[in-house]
């Protein structure tokens, strides 16, 4: 009898007559933001901005036409000279760069090579207002997970229409088959005296640009 059969047989025996009983799930929790939290669409975006900042990221609102300039300015301010971006990053986003070496991702780059870079620019899949969270799913403009894990600086562009109010709304929008990373602020650890300080893994600086439509 294989371990699998043993475990399954033990489960069935343990449950006995109760096996297969359905338990109704009361889903009375909130699936959307209350009117009090965010009366209008603009308030959802404002709540996201507030919560992202509380999580320790720098957050800025930019217009679609000012995005390239804003990205160039942010990279300059962070002194990021060599950056990486997913190969499918919209071309215009990096159009304003001066004296920055921007490289498109390629599978040849191993973690050590990524470690030698100053930063990464990506988009995101979904953002959650209530928790100030950005979700990356490896889809358009996001690239593989190592890109947003190894370099020490991450600039993430969030379109206002990607922001949802709550975790349930985000879960409903996301595809479970994709690898997801839910990021709430820059890298941190509380392992020393429960004090929040930059952690060992992930970018220690996170800039979030909210593009208003």
């Amino acid at each position: 009898m294989s371990a699998r059969d043993t475990v399954l047989a033990r489960v069935r025996e343990a449950l006995g007559a109760a096996r297969g009983t359905r338990v109704p799930v009361p889903r009375d929790y909130r699936v959307r933001l209350t009117g009090e939290e965010a009366p209008t669409r603009a308030d959802v975006v404002a709540l996201f901005t507030e919560r992202v900042a509380e999580n320790g990221a720098t957050v800025r609102h930019v217009g679609a036409d000012g995005l390239a300039t804003a990205i160039a300015a942010a990279l300059w301010a962070r002194e990021a000279k060599r950056i990486i971006a997913p190969a499918d990053l919209p071309f215009g986003w990096l159009a304003g760069l001066e004296e920055v070496h921007a490289q498109a991702d390629s599978p040849l780059l191993d973690p050590a090579a990524l470690d030698g870079l100053d930063g990464v620019v990506t988009g995101c899949a979904v953002a959650v207002a209530r928790t100030g969270t950005i979700v990356l799913d490896g889809g358009r403009a996001q690239g593989r997970r190592a890109l947003t894990l190894v370099p020490d600086y991450h600039l993430c562009v969030v379109h206002a229409d990607q922001i949802v109010g709550t975790v349930p709304e985000a879960v409903a929008r996301l595809d479970p088959a994709r690898p997801l990373t839910w990021i709430s602020g820059p890298s941190m650890t509380e392992d020393v005296g429960l004090e929040r300080v930059p952690g060992p893994h992930g970018p220690r600086a996170l800039d979030v640009f909210v593009v208003d439509e």
């Binding site: 999580n55 690898p179 941190m188 650890t189």
Partner: protein, 514 residues
């Protein structure tokens, strides 16, 4: 079939037999069970070291107080906390009652997504599977992320036996690992019992490359750890981690840890091995919406973990090329068989019950043994391992039954009720022994004495006389013999010279004297 260092192929399901009886099946590399460095002790005896350490108690008290406050604020802010708890409870109850079907569904989904599922009946089998998989990769180093399950199966000791070096991913694991005598105090914050000054001292002595003039502020210490940990993580080609949750419907694993250090495990290495208990399942993707709200707020008092990862099998050109999921029983089916105790398997290992527990707050995690600390550990350990062993049987008594744990539990496990249930099981198991325990003998003697008025009054008279001889200043500070344990922490008032019965009889007999 005589392969001394046999790494001969074993399929998806390792042929490992259950229990201590039969010899391990062929093909599984011999990983002898390492002897524990100290034999398991009863809770009260094991707690003495911690209780005598005032610095540790001060650090634990400060940390648990901070976590309690944060958690209460996070739960209150949610606004729909009670509704989320009710949903969490119902989802887990439904999962457990259909566990066999969900396990098969999970196996199918993980396999379809390119992962491999292994089954382990006990800790030894899980150790064998993990070491065999690691040997198969040829790696001599492995990245590990702290997880209650990995501690439960004592993976570190098995890796050391197999000559594989474990490289921690998180700061706290590094801290605890640097001192051979240290034990994690908390599943999420293992170094919580050490203050920054102690960590500074430890780093200065033991951490390779740590600057001599390291200050004792959290930022500088985390930075020193960061440099060390990143080196290990970037070079790692294999990783072992736990999982917070598994989604049966989609085959998705969810890794949740307070800081987000674990996120390197499912991203950088070539091979990822995840060990998870069979109860860690939720049925559907939609169910995640409940636990992604309950868990972060219950675990570290945050709206969301700093980094939460989910993955389904393997993804081409992103992350590990091989994903192995080891599903562990190790006594969980025994818990499932206990109709009352079954509720304990709802546990999502958030640690909320630890930080509100007045016992845990003083002892830390070590005295609870390897399975899990705190009230939930005091319930799960004896349910999983039985109450025959003295150490396991002592755990249900490591509680004041104050009920704070039940109030904070995100899946509404009635922990005090289960502790009382287990105390009953301990008594029942002792009743079956050929030689009664002193407690049982005493209770039987008491039952005999109290069963008859004359016997009771005679005992009362004699007892009073002896007790008054022991008393000093109206109090008895130490009772003789085994009863002395009761007076270790309290005094007994001396009985009055005249019992109520004697007084009553005298009063009626003398027609209202006094």
């Amino acid at each position: 079939m005589t392969l001394p260092s046999g790494d001969s192929s074993a399929g998806t399901s390792p042929s490992s037999s259950s229990g201590p009886g039969p010899v391990s099946g062929p093909g599984s590399g011999p990983v002898p069970l390492p002897m524990p460095r100290v034999p398991p002790r009863k809770f009260a005896a094991a707690a003495r070291t911690a209780l005598a350490d005032t610095r540790l108690r001060r650090n634990l008290a400060a940390a648990t107080a901070a976590l309690r406050e944060r958690r209460a604020a996070a739960a209150a802010e949610a606004g729909d906390w009670e509704e989320l708890r009710a949903a969490g409870q119902a989802i887990k109850d439904g999962t457990l009652l259909n566990l066999d079907a969900h396990l098969l569904e999970l196996e199918r989904a993980v396999t379809a997504a390119g992962g491999t599922v292994h089954w382990a009946v006990d800790a030894a089998a899980a150790r064998r599977v993990v070491t065999r998989l690691l040997r198969g990769t040829g790696e001599t180093e492995v990245l590990t992320m702290r997880s209650p399950v990995l501690r439960e199966i004592r993976l570190d000791e098995a890796l050391a036996r197999a000559g594989i070096a474990a490289r921690p991913a998180g700061v706290a694991d590094l801290v605890v690992g640097l001192d051979a005598d240290d034990r994690p105090a908390h599943p999420l914050f293992p170094a919580m019992h050490r203050d920054p000054a102690q960590i500074r001292e430890l780093f200065a002595r033991r951490l390779p490359g740590a600057p001599a003039d390291l200050p004792d502020d959290a930022g500088a210490l985390a930075e020193a750890a960061r440099i060390h940990l990143r080196g290990g993580a970037l070079a790692a080609r294999a990783a072992v981690c736990g999982a917070g949750l598994l989604v049966a419907e989609t085959g998705t694993a969810v890794l949740f840890d307070s800081g987000g250090d674990g996120r390197v495990c499912p991203v950088l290495p070539e091979t990822l091995i995840t060990v998870a208990g069979i109860e860690e399942i939720v049925p559907t993707w939609e169910d995640l919406e409940v636990f992604l709200q309950l868990l972060p707020r219950s675990a570290a008092g945050r709206r969301m973990g700093a980094a939460v990862s989910t993955w389904t099998g393997v993804t081409p050109d992103d992350g590990p090329a091989a994903f192995h999921l080891v599903l562990l029983d190790n006594g969980r089916t025994s818990v499932l068989a206990d109709e009352a105790g079954r509720a304990a398997l709802r546990c999502v290992r958030c640690t909320a019950c630890l930080d509100v527990c007045p016992v845990y707050e003083r002892t830390g995690g070590d005295p609870y043994g390897p399975v899990h600390p705190g009230p939930i550990g005091a319930v799960l350990t004896p349910l999983m391992r039985g109450v025959e062993g003295a150490a396991d049987a002592s755990l249900p008594y490591a509680s004041t039954l104050c009920g704070a744990c039940a109030d904070v539990c995100p899946v509404r496990i009635d922990l005090p009720d289960l502790l009382v249930h287990l105390r009953g099981k301990v008594i029942e198991s002792r009743r079956r022994r050929p030689v009664p325990t002193p407690e049982l003998a005493m209770m039987r003697a008491l039952a005999w004495t109290l069963g008859d008025r004359r016997r009771y009054e005679a005992a009362l008279r004699r007892g009073t006389r002896w007790a008054r001889l022991l008393a000093r200043g109206g109090r008895i500070r130490r009772l003789p013999g085994l009863l002395g344990k009761w007076t270790e922490a309290r005094d007994v008032p001396a009985p009055p010279a005249e019992s109520f019965r004697a007084w009553w009889r005298g009063r009626t007999g003398a027609g209202g004297r006094r």
